[in-house]
Structures are given as C-alpha cells and as structure tokens.
C-alpha cells in the first residue's frame, strides 16, 4: 500500500513539475502548482504512516497509532494552501484585466 502512495506522490509531483516547466498559460501553471501541493501533502502523510497503525484517536484499546505530527502539519497546510492560491488567482485576475491575456510573452517580467 505504501508503494501505491509513493507512486501517486511521484506522479503528482512530476506532472505538476512538467506543467510548471512547459506551460505558458499562467492559470495552467497555478493548476500545476496546486497538483504539486496535493502531492506534497500526500507524501507527508505517507511518511507518517505506520503499517498496521490506526488513526491517532484514543479509543480505549491501545494498539498502534500512526504518527500524528505530519497530520497536524498537513491539516493547516491545506487551509493555508487554498487561501494562498486564492491570493495568487486574484493577482492573476488583476493581471488579466490589465494585460488582456494570461499567456507568457517575451519580455514579460513577473
């Protein structure tokens, strides 16, 4: 199961990276970044996973828990991620209303 997760992480990161490198549309770049973010979150949770462990919630019969620290980290990271994405998109909207396009052009600095 871990290897399925690692595979998913690698594909998500690689796909996002490929999008960021090759795409010229800024909206596409941000979508790619969002995908990479999901991949990173998945990677953190996967590293914290212990085979055979249960969710870190005390339920009386103590067995084996997964690591709660990455979960706490990712929990906030997701919320921060969406707000920062929204900020970036509002910048894009402003840029679009000025420039009329989102495509990369030579000489454009951003």
């Amino acid at each position: 199961m871990i290897w399925a997760m690692y595979f998913a992480v690698a594909v998500l990161l690689t796909a996002g990276l490929y999008g960021v490198i090759t795409k010229k549309n800024l909206m596409k770049v941000f979508i790619s970044l969002s995908i990479m973010e999901t991949g990173v979150n998945l990677l953190l949770i996967t590293i914290g996973y212990i085979p055979g462990g249960t969710a870190p919630i005390e339920n009386g019969n103590f067995a084996k828990y997964v690591d709660p620290v990455p979960q706490a980290l990712v929990l906030t990271a997701i919320v921060i991620g969406v707000s920062v994405t929204a900020l970036a998109l509002s910048l894009l909207i402003m840029y679009h209303s000025k420039a009329g396009t989102l495509e990369y052009k030579e000489g454009m600095k951003w």
Binding site: L17, V20, I21, T22, K24, Y104, G107, W110
Partner: protein, 609 residues
C-alpha cells in the same frame, strides 16, 4: 560613578524627547556637567590635582549575558578632555538656536553617551557596541537635514566603517581569544596586518582621511551647525582615538614595521595625511559655501593628525595630539559662528555675506581667535602644535611630507582670510542685524577659553598627554609650562611673544603713521580693467571668487572630485549585477528548472551516499 553618568545621560535622552526646546537644552546642558566634573576629578590620576572626589574609575555592566567593561585609561581621559567639554557649550548655543524641539537633543545626548563609552571602553566589544551607537545616533542627526546626498553618503560610509572595524575586531579575536585591550597581542602575520589595516581604514572614514572623506563635505555642509560642531570637533577625534589605540597602545605600528621589512607603512599613513591636508586646503579656498569651506578645512586640519601618527616619533605624536585638541575647539567655534551668522542673516554663501562683523562684534572676535589658531598664526596654540609637527617631519627627514605641510599651512591662512574678510568685514551688507543671542556668544567664548590657556602654557598640554604617550610606549618631551624642548630647537612661548611684539612694532608704526582714508566699496582700484559682474556684485570683492586666478589654474584638476571614483566603482558593481541578473529570465518555467536541478543534485547526493 561611571554607570551613574551613563544612566543619567540615557535617562535625560529619553526625557528630552518629550519636553519643550528650552527645557531640553537646559537638561542636556545639566547632565553634561556631571561627566565634566568627573573628568576634572579623574585628572588627579594623571597629574592634575584639580578636585578630588574619589570617583570610581572602572566598571563592568552586565547586559544580556555580555558585560560592558569600562575604565578610565590615560588615553581615554585625554580624548574625553577634548570631546566632553564641547558638549555643554554646544547645548548652550542651541538653547537659542532651535525654534522647536524636534529630536535634536535626545540624539545628541546619545552621541555624547556613546562617545564616552567609546573612549572608556576596556574591551573591543564594548568599543564596537558604542561605536555602532555613535554611528546611528549621528546618522539620525544627519537625517534631520533631509538632504539625500548627505544622508546616503553618511549611511554608506558609516556602514563601511563599521564593517571594516568589525572585520578587524574579529581577526583580533580569532588570534587572541580575548577582546580585552590589556590582553590583546596582535601577531605579526598576514592576518594581523589585515586586521590593523582594516581597523585603520575604518577609523579613517570617521576621521575623514583623504581618500575616504567623500561623505564629509555633504554632511558638514547640510546638517545643523551645533551638530556639525560636535561632529567635526568631537566625533571625528574618535577615529584618531581608535588609530592611536591600534597603532601605539596595541603596538600595531611595530607589527606593521616588522611585517613589511623593506617598506614603512607608517610613511604611507603620513603621506595620506599630507595629501589630505594639501588637497583639502586647495579645494577649501575655492568654496563659496561657508560650511563647505569649513568642511574641507576640517579634512585638511585633521590630516595633520594622521601625519603625526604616521611619523610616530615622540615629537610628532605630541604635536598630533596637540593639534587634535586645538582642532576640537577651534572647529567647534567656527561652525558655531557659521550657525550664528546664518541664524541672523539666513545666508551661508560667502558671496552673499559681508560686513557681518560690524554688527556682530563678539561673534567676530571669537571667530577671529579661532581662525588665528586654525591658520597657526604665531603665539596661538595652533602654532605650537604645527611647530612640533613641522619639526618632527624635518627631524624624521620626511622630505615629501614636510614641504606639502608647509604649503598647506599657507593655504589654511588663505581660506581663513576669505571667511574673515568675505563674511565679517568688507562691504556692510547687513546694517540692520543684531548681535547673536547672548547664549550663543557665551558658548563661543567658553570654547575659546582652552585655546587661550594653551596659548600661554603649551607645557600644560604636554603634561596632560604625558600618561597617554607613556601608555603608548612613546617617550615624552622635556618641557616646562612655557618651554618645549626638542632635538632641533625649543619652542619658547615667551620668546615667541617677545618676537611677535618686536615684529608688531613696525607694523603698528606703519599703520599709525601712514595716512589712510575710508574708501567706498565701489571705489576700488580696477587698474583699468572693466568690473566683471558676478551675481550682480563686482568681482573684485573678497566675497566673490577672490582667488579666481588660482582657481583657474588648479580648479580643473579637482573637477572630477573623489565622488566620481566612488561612482565608477558603483557603475562597475551595477554592470556585474546586471550580468548576474540575466539568470532571472522572468519565466516561471525557468525558475522551476533551476529549483528542480538543485533538488536533483540533493536527491542524488542522498541516494548515492
């Protein structure tokens, strides 16, 4: 006691931030009296039994795990004697100079506090902390001028100075594992030499030695005069305090001599000082702005101190310290006088001033005496100091330095004459102004007093610096109150006075017997030449380009100015930065590639390790 002094100045700095201008000036003056009293008491340590209160002489203040070690050293005491007395007088001056309290007094008090800290520091860390404090408090005072060039140049050069000093301190710490001045022993290897040179360069920035002086003309000519009086008179001496510390007390001069066996780096310091004195003097008498003239004059006069330190014989160092002391007082008086003139007339340009001395006679008298000292007219203490310096240069056979010093000495008279005639005498253009306020006049006369004392008793000055010289392993000169004996000749005040009297007799006779008439200003002897108009004023007047022929000969050589070399460095750096900036293409994809390559390297490292 020392901690009480520092604490009261700090508290007063906070209080003066909130009170009105007059109260602030009085508070600032009052708190600077205590260090002055303490200074007189500490004099009993070094041969002058003036008062004896039994005040503590050293202290360690623990702050945030670091202790600030402060103590009175002979050298610190001597420099305190030339810096601290300026302060109450300047505060007295600014009592009526400022129209409102807008941050002048708190930062002046902080500057005083930090200069006390610098000259009393027992270890390099304390020294550096107070040095930084002095830099930023004086930076904020410069910032009050709101002049872009002044603020930027002061900021950049202060940062450079702090960087160089910090570098030197770090190297010294690396060699000694201790920052206490008493346990520092600079090794004679490449690191030690780099430390010494960077420290001296850092101090030279503060004490406006020639290639590093570029900030001074802007700052001195644009900031408030009371602050500039303290900056030029007091704070610039801190650089020479540091140089003395490094060169003589920490034996840096000997280290340099042993490291460079075939070349005397001290000679280079002397040459820099001589060039500073010579070039700044030449530039000074081309200036029209009174404050800029005084600024270049400061650069020139401070150059003499570097010459003395560079020559390094007992005669030269005594002369240098004497010159430092004189310069502190006469330059403060001159800047204050410029402030007083501007306070009444609102003008700084010599071509727009004239005849101020008729209406402001006391200001004129103080300025006159200060200028006599500046130009080293015989019998003033300035003459004694320069005498020692010239003699030492001749004695040490510095055949390049000595003639330059002599020419610069004449030049000093030329530009001081412009101030005297162009500002205070000549055409009476301001018939309706009043004498400067009493507190200003009082401040200037208080500052003239020490110069008068050492005019009559130059030996006392040597008494005061005796212990400082001993602590720097320099022999002292034989002297009594009136006579200083040197290897070539001896300087005898009484003989000089008598000689001057004798020389004055024919002058007085000529003045009395020769028939003279008061001529109208327009009634000048044009010798057939058409009066050339310059700003609607006739060009023959001293106020407007008096040294035009000299200017036309030497002016072109100074046309580019030192700032242009710094600008060339700036342009070079900018070109390099632009080349580096080519990496940043502005494409998100490119940045992603850089980041990925970096990550790949790290990952590869992890995988194949």
């Amino acid at each position: 006691m020392l901690d009480i002094i520092l604490a009261e100045i700090l508290v007063a700095a906070i209080i003066t931030f909130f009170v009105g201008r007059k109260l602030a000036a009085i508070i600032a003056m009052a708190v600077s009296i205590l260090p002055l009293i303490a200074l007189l008491d500490w004099a009993s340590l070094y041969g002058f039994n003036i008062i004896h209160l039994g005040i503590e002489k050293s202290i360690s203040i623990p702050i945030a795990g670091v202790s600030l070690n402060l103590a009175i050293t002979p050298l610190g005491w001597f420099f305190a004697l030339m810096i601290i007395p300026l302060f109450p007088a300047i505060m007295l001056f600014s009592y009526s100079f400022y129209k409102k309290n807008d941050g002048f007094y708190p930062f002046m008090l902080l500057a005083l506090l930090s200069s006390i800290g610098i000259i009393m520091a027992k270890d390099m860390l304390t020294f550096f902390l107070f040095w930084e404090m002095m830099s930023w408090s004086s930076f904020l005072l410069v910032y009050r001028s709101r002049d872009k060039e002044a603020v930027m140049s002061y900021f950049i050069f202060s940062s450079l100075s702090a960087f160089l000093i910090f570098l030197g301190i770090l190297i010294i710490y690396q060699q000694n594992a201790s920052l206490l001045l008493s346990s520092i022993n600079i090794e004679s290897n490449a690191y030690g030499v780099v430390a010494i040179i960077s420290l001296i360069a850092g101090f030279a920035i503060k004490s406006v030695l020639m290639p590093l002086h570029a900030w001074a003309p802007y700052v001195y000519s644009k900031s408030d005069e009371p602050f500039v009086a303290f900056l030029a008179g007091g704070l610039s001496k801190l650089g020479y305090y540091g140089m003395f510390l490094i060169l003589f007390i920490l034996a840096g001069a000997k280290v340099l001599e042993t490291y460079f066996t075939n070349l005397s780096p001290n000679y280079i310091l002397a040459v820099f000082g001589a060039l500073s004195a010579f070039i700044a003097t030449l530039i000074a008498f081309m200036q029209d702005d009174m404050r800029k003239l005084l600024a270049y004059s400061s650069i020139g006069q401070l150059g003499y101190i570097a010459i003395g330190f560079g020559i390094g014989t007992p005669l030269a160092v005594s002369g240098a310290l004497f010159q430092a002391f004189n310069h502190a007082f006469f330059k403060a008086v001159l800047f204050l006088a410029a402030g007083a003139v501007a306070y009444r007339t609102g003008k700084w340009k010599i071509s727009e001033l004239g005849g101020v001395g008729y209406r402001m006679p006391f200001t004129f008298m103080a300025t006159l005496f200060a200028i006599f000292t500046l130009a080293a007219i015989p019998i003033t203490s300035g003459f004694a100091a320069k005498w020692l310096l010239y003699e030492s240069a001749i004695d040490a056979k510095y055949i390049f330095v000595a003639p330059i010093m002599l020419i610069a000495g004449v030049g000093a008279f030329l530009y001081s004459f412009r101030i005297l005639y162009g500002v205070f005498l000549g055409e009476n253009r301001y018939p309706n102004i009043k004498e400067a306020p009493k507190s200003m006049v009082a401040a200037m006369f208080i500052l003239v007093m020490p110069l008068l004392i050492f005019l009559i008793f130059p030996g006392y000055m040597l008494d005061m610096m005796h212990d400082a010289l001993i602590s720097g392993n320099i022999a002292t000169l034989n002297h009594n109150a009136f006579v200083i004996e040197t290897s070539l000749a001896s300087y005898n005040t009484i003989a000089v006075i008598v000689a001057l009297m004798i020389a004055l007799i024919p002058a007085i006779l000529i003045y009395k017997t020769r028939k003279h008439r008061v001529v109208d200003f327009m009634d000048n002897y044009l010798a057939g030449e058409l009066p050339e108009l310059y700003d609607n004023k006739i060009s023959m007047h001293a106020a407007s380009r008096f040294y035009k022929p000299i200017e036309e000969i030497i002016g072109p050589y100074f046309e580019p100015g030192t700032m242009s070399y710094y600008m060339a460095i700036y342009r070079g750096l900018k070109a390099i930065s632009d080349a580096v900036r080519k990496i940043y293409t502005g494409k998100a994809g490119d940045y992603a590639i850089y980041v990925t390559l970096f990550l790949l390297i790290i990952m590869g490292w992890f995988i194949w390790m």
